[in-house]
């Protein structure tokens, strides 16, 4: 499954249970629904290990971090998956914001390279 846009793309590989987000997310409110649906679908598959790879996500606006939060809560409520979030130090916002996802899911594992 994938959403490909000129500015961004989201890909979910069911076989490896990896969700990859790339580009710049500058959507507003409801525009994030397709992205959230794809993320929730990945969560609903309840894999033992679910990876969110945002290493090539250059920009994420407030509605975007909100969407990621909803995804993490959804996973938490299932109590079925260990979540690993992979980020990059190339984009300073990732170091500051991704760690906050652990406030919603303390067991979340964050890997910033």
């Amino acid at each position: 499954m994938e959403i490909v846009h000129a500015d961004y793309e989201v890909r979910y590989d069911e076989a490896s249970s990896i969700v990859i987000c790339k580009g710049s997310f500058r959507l507003h409110g409801e525009e994030y629904k397709p992205v959230l649906d794809l993320l929730l679908k990945a969560a609903d598959a309840r894999p033992a290990l679910l990876t969110l790879d945002v290493r090539e996500l250059q920009f994420l606006n407030s509605s975007g971090i909100n969407t990621l939060s909803k995804f993490i809560l959804h996973v938490r409520n299932h109590k079925a998956s260990q979540v690993v979030v992979q980020g990059s130090a190339r984009f300073p916002w990732q170091e500051k914001s991704l760690i906050n996802l652990q406030r919603l899911l303390p067991a979340l594992k964050l890997e910033i390279a």
Binding site: S62, S69, L73, K96, N100, R103
Partner: protein, 511 residues
Amino acid sequence: MSTGQAAPGAETPRDELAAAAEALRRRIEELEQEKRDLEVMLETATEHADHLAADLEQERNDLATMLAMTTEHADTVEDELHESAAAALLKSARQLRMIVEATPAPVLISRRADAEIVYANTMTGTLLGAPSQELLGRRVPELYFDPVDRVPLLKALEDQGFVDHQEVRFKRLDGSLVWVDVSLRPLDFNEEPSILSALHDITERKEAEQRLQQQVDELRLELEETSQSSALARSTGTTRFHNLDAAVIEHGSTRLIAFHSFRGGNGKSSIAANVAGLLAARGQRIGVIDADLQSPGMHVLLGQAGKKIDHTLNDYLLGNCGIHQLAIDVTAGLGQPVPGQLFLVPASVNPGAMAQVLSQGYEAERLTQSFHELAKLLQLDVLLIDTHPGLNEEALLTMRAVQTLIVVLRPDAQDFEGTGVTVQVARQLEVPHLMLMVNQLPATDQLQAVRARVEQTFNSEVAAILPQAAEFMTFDHDGLFALRHAGHPISVALQHLSTRLMGATAQVQLS
């Protein structure tokens, strides 16, 4: 039967009491059950409410966390964007300074509010005779020779958002006058509304124009004085050249046409050579004089490159040979057989001869005298003169002597400006028929729009517009382009020009 016994079938009070007691007992049991049920329900409801409250609390906490996260994220991104915007602004300002500093033209930036100069590049300092740093803090009106000249520029900038190529007088810091071509653009500099002024020193050109104007006035005066007693030299008939060595012209039908341009390299000579060939192809007797003594090339265009040439126009001008020794019949070298004849008077490509005629000078009137003597000698129908670009004495004399002047220009700003001066001079010299010809029109330009613009700018007829074509501008050893490629758009345009020239010159003759 005893008195206290109840009749069979009838309930005694004791029984009734027992029944009532039984009923009460059952009721009590029911109530107790209800009580227990209610207690269970209460307990269940309470537990459920506790669960709900816990869930709500969790959700509330999650939402609070999400809000805090979102806010923190927004702050982070906002900071990043602000920093990157500030960095981009700084980079942009640095780049602007680098570009402006490297620009080989004077550029200065002044604050709009108080006209204070906040930036000036090195070239501005050079223009105004002081290190550019010394200009900072001064006000722009100080730079104007007459500060009033700035008012219409600011008004134009206000009205149309830009000012292009306005000629104004500035003064150097030592007070001396400097003419500049100024263009203005609004600009935000250091976050303040500012004006960017691009300057171009045109003092030399202005002085040249003034000198030229003086020469034109002097020439006009001379011509007026000498033409009072006789008709002016005007090519045909028996007109006497009283003003130019009193050369007598007895030949009665030669048309004199000069090809001129303000700048070199715009294809003037190629056009002249091809027009000459096309006129010869119409059965005419044509002469071509290469009057471009500083950069001759007509002999190459007319197939004489590398051939031995005994006498040139240089020799004639210096008095070293007669007109009868000059002309070369080049008809056979045109690449195609033509019914007419084409004669060339070449200029010398010998460096010594070129230097000699340019350094020693010559009797200028011998040049125009050569036109008429040649016309008479060769019985020419048309004599074409290819001049040296720019405005010099030979050009002015040639303009005064011919019936038709064709000014060739390229559609660019420099040629437009120079052609404007040329046209102005030609009008003052009362050239009977002035035509403009645009060469090397880029494929992207609209022909009709360019024609309209040129005609409107110079108020003159555009005789032809030739498209940009490398094959025309690239020299071909096998003969004249217009004769060898008759169907090419350039050849067709030149054919029309030839027809137009014959008509135009005939018209002049009749008048």
